[in-house]
């Protein structure tokens, strides 16, 4: 935390987090908040209403990656519901009912939504089904075993028929059975099937009807923007609000922990009020190094011994023996997430309680943070998760800074005055919490067509060490999010070594869609390709020869080669093809990119073939959409993305300088989903890692070299 007026100790968070019990359980005591006595809520996840609608309470935030549709598919499958009767909404913040089983607290991240909920929500649905059937059996006076359900209609051989809503009230009075049977995969009618479901949130989004946090309004509500320090670690020394208060519509100006808050009747007066505000900043403790200085420091550090993150054989000895050592150094800039909806939040409160509404990704800790700042008992604070306009990691806040700032804004103006805090795009891009800047220094050698030694040194910031998440993620003081994907390779290399340096820099950083893999996959896959090229090997065959212990990764690589009709890197017509593969979050993805050098010498990516193995594919079209989106997101940043610091100040302040991929830069994408009976894994992030190296490896075959410094286009640092 940089500039909050609160100190949340790890201990207080842990104590409040419900004991961090990680176990698969189906909460029985709590039933989904019901809409009336005739509603049937057999558990915390499902509500069946008299109008036959089945509402799934989704504990994972929906910001485009598809959990509403995914979890509703699982429920509809087990209940044999009709897709038209399915609804989804966010579950309230309640760690006892809605903890993410991978974390022990309520939260979304690590592409865990489907993996976590696959068994849990199906059990909940199977239970609901048994109870509805039982209620029908009692009403019809027939054995339950003789009742079937198809598309939401219960039927008995005698010709009796009914729908879920007809039995909701009776089912609600039945005891909750243990061990309701789950379907076998052969019985699936929706899971894994093409064209049987549509996104539940799609139609409203195409019509501007979806309500996001920024769309909230309430009587007497004030819109708040905050003036924050221009450099990270800066503080308010003094401020003069005279001119700000003269702006029509500005109501008040208050200093809060993160800066100076301007309260106004609407966004425009708030923005103008902030422009008129005069703040003197105390920058004595601010970070003043720029990207260029950091890169120079990191490069030097990469040449000194770090902490060992992975090692086998003797890489140094192997490299010492080698005729030729190939070296490469990769530099990765800070990156902003820039979700389309900037950060925002709504809060109303008084001594009786509080209601917070925003795109909360870590509900449990954010709920506690708000309660603590408002000095209210947690049970008096309600947190409603809103649909959010993207996240890419930005809302998964280790520091809770948005929830804290929202609560501070609300507290400073006093009770019974609802506030809506909105960040502008400038606030977003200059506000930190970036994907950290990294340097990877690689050394390797090739002998007789084989990789004879691989050594890598990784330098960058950790956003985990010293936080609440350290005990969940770090081992032996090593933060795996810094080097995941680089400390153990999918390739058999007998002499291997990986070291890491965690630097201390006053720039707040955060996970960014696919986390460590955003840079490790680039460094590993580019360097591997370079070594294979030096060994005279084909990029596909050469990789496969080293992937003996990685059947699923080899599987996607073979599949993508087949899909692209791979015959080698040369695609003719001035085009070349490059390969990238990566496992992340338990999902395996391989991509081939076809690239040429386009206008102004910029890389032009024409087509991307992608194969993905995510275990059982629950919603094939959502998986394809996430691969397409992941490729676009990864490509845009590999080509153009850079958040440069100049003497500690962010240079790019809006989309005019933080260049985002646009429609004419989006390649055609073809996706192949591998059939699998393995447990499902996530797809929100794994589409991202392979695209950067796939493009770089194609550029190398066009004689452009593999870009060693990202972004590929422009780049200031």
């Amino acid at each position: 935390m940089t500039a909050h007026d609160l100190t949340l100790s790890r201990r207080s968070l842990l104590a409040g987090a419900g004991g961090l019990i990680i176990a698969l359980h189906l909460p029985k005591a709590a039933r989904a908040q019901s809409a009336g006595s005739a509603t049937f809520a057999p558990n915390a996840f499902i509500r069946v209403a008299p109008d036959h609608s089945v509402t799934v309470l989704v504990k994972h935030i929906e910001f485009g990656q598809g959990p509403f549709t995914g979890l509703a598919t699982l429920v509809a499958e087990e209940m044999d519901a009709d897709w038209g009767q399915m609804r989804a909404e966010h579950a309230p913040a309640d760690v006892k009912l809605y903890a993410n089983l991978a974390f022990g607290v309520q939260g979304t991240g690590g592409s865990t939504a489907i993996a976590n909920s696959f068994d849990q929500i199906r059990k909940a649905a199977a239970t609901a089904r048994v109870m509805l059937v039982q209620a029908a059996a009692q009403a019809w006076k027939v054995p339950a075993g003789e009742i079937t359900i198809e598309k939401g209609v219960l039927t008995h051989a005698s010709g009796k028929q009914g729908r879920f809503g007809d039995f909701a009230e009776a089912a609600a009075k039945l005891p909750v059975p243990e061990n309701a049977p789950l379907k076998q995969p052969a019985q699936f009618k929706l899971i894994g099937k093409e064209g049987v479901v549509k996104r539940l949130d799609g139609a409203d989004k195409a019509r501007g009807k979806t309500k996001f946090t920024i769309d909230i309004s309430a009587p007497n509500m004030l819109t708040v923007v905050v003036a924050r320090p221009p450099r990270f670690g800066g503080k308010v020394a003094s401020f003069d609000a005279t001119d700000a208060l003269k702006v029509k519509g500005v109501v008040d100006v208050k200093q809060i922990g993160s800066g100076v808050a301007v309260y106004a009747q609407g966004m425009w007066p708030a923005i103008k009020g902030r422009e008129a505000l005069k703040v003197v900043w105390d920058e004595s403790e601010a970070e003043k190094r720029g990207s260029a200085e950091l890169v120079a420091e990191y490069r030097a550090l990469a040449r000194t011994p770090g902490k060992v993150a992975g090692s086998h054989g003797d890489a140094e000895a192997a490299l010492a023996k080698a005729e030729r050592v190939i070296e490469a150094e990769y530099v990765f800039p800070y990156l902003a997430h820039a979700p389309m909806e900037p950060l925002d939040g709504y809060l109303e409160w008084n001594a009786q309680g509080a209601l917070a509404r925003f795109g909360s990704q870590f509900q449990t800790t954010e709920h506690q943070t708000i309660a603590q700042i408002l000095e209210l008992p947690p049970e008096k604070v309600q947190l409603e998760t809103m649909l959010a306009g993207g996240s890419f990691g930005r809302r998964a806040q280790v520091s809770q800074h948005l929830a804290a700032e929202l609560a501070m804004c609300a507290k400073a103006i006093g009770p019974n005055r609802p506030v809506k805090l909105v960040w502008t795009r400038e606030d977003d891009l200059t506000g930190g919490y970036y994907r950290p800047l990294f340097v990877h220094r690689m050394r390797g050698a090739v002998k007789d067509g084989k990789i004879a030694g691989w050594s890598t040194s990784i330098v960058g910031q950790s956003f985990i060490l010293g936080t609440f998440f350290e005990q969940m993620i770090a081992k032996n003081g090593l933060d795996s999010t810094m080097f995941e994907g680089a400390n153990e390779l999918p390739y058999e290399i007998s002499d291997f070594h990986c070291e890491v340096h965690a630097t201390k820099v006053g720039v707040p950083t955060l996970w960014w869609r696919s986390v460590g893999h955003t840079h490790t996959a680039y460094a590993v896959e580019c360097f591997m390709d370079e070594l294979l090229q030096a060994a005279g090997q084909d990029p596909v065959a050469g990789r496969l020869a080293l992937m003996g212990k990685e059947p699923r990764l080899a599987g996607v690589l073979k599949a993508v080669a087949e899909l692209a009709k791979w015959t080698g890197p040369d695609a003719g017509n001035g085009r070349a093809r490059g390969v990238g593969v990566a496992e992340s979050f338990g999902t395996f993805v391989a991509q081939i990119a076809e690239v040429s050098v386009g206008e102004g010498g910029e890389p032009k990516v024409h087509k991307v073939w992608c194969a993905v193995d995510c275990g059982i594919a629950v919603n094939p079209d959502v998986i394809r959409a996430q691969m397409e989106g992941g490729i676009g997101f990864g490509l845009g940043h590999a080509l153009y993305g850079e958040l440069t610091l100049d003497k500690g100040k962010p240079v790019q302040t809006n989309f005019d300088s933080y260049r985002s991929l646009r429609i004419h830069e989006m390649p055609e994408v073809e996706v192949k989903i591998i059939a699998s009976t393995e447990k499902p894994t996530g797809v929100g992030e794994p589409g991202v890692p392979p695209i950067g190296p796939a493009v770089a490896n194609a550029l190398a075959r066009l004689g452009q070299g593999r870009p060693r410094r990202l972004p590929m286009v422009g780049g200031i640092a």
Binding site: D204, G208, S217, K248, E341, G390, F392, G629, F655, D656
Partner: protein, 152 residues
């Protein structure tokens, strides 16, 4: 001062400063929130509305400069709109959805001008609309699909 705006066929008087962007008058004063804020500097297209049928960036259009008839996503209608929204539905274009009001406003405006847009036409008409979820491939397919529906 008071400004009279014709929005979605109705005349509204809003009492805001002259330099207030149409975007904030629409959202904060009139409560029409389908039009989104993404950048405030005419770079992302999330705020796209039509003035006299032309797509404009409402975030950089001050209310004092608005003379024509404004249409927002809430009042979008007609066969091009129906075709575009149906194609968006059938291809499941939206992800987070935040950019999609602007995408749809731009796409419908394109099809009103050009019943059979080429890929290049789509690039030119749509490259002012950023989608951070990168739904671009589906947007392109959906515009072609909508064009086919309109052909009949």
């Amino acid at each position: 001062m008071a400004h009279t705006l014709t929005i979605n066929g109705r005349s509204h008087s809003v009492d805001v400063d002259d330099d207030t962007p149409l975007l904030w008058a629409i959202r904060d004063n009139l409560g029409l929130t389908g039009t989104k804020f993404g950048c405030g500097v005419a770079q992302c297209g999330a705020c796209t509305v039509w003035i006299d049928g032309q797509p404009v960036r409402s975030c950089v259009t001050p209310v004092s400069a608005v003379e024509g008839k404004v249409i927002t996503i809430e009042a979008l209608e007609g066969k091009e709109a129906a075709a575009v929204q149906a194609a968006w539905d059938s291809l499941d274009v939206p992800q987070c959805g935040y950019c999609q009001s602007g995408q749809v406003m731009s796409a419908v405006a394109l099809l009103k001008e050009n019943r059979k847009p080429s890929d290049r036409d789509i690039d030119l008409a749509m490259n002012g609309n950023i989608c951070r979820c990168a739904t671009y491939a589906r947007i392109r397919t959906a515009i072609h699909a909508a064009a086919r529906t309109l052909e009949g």
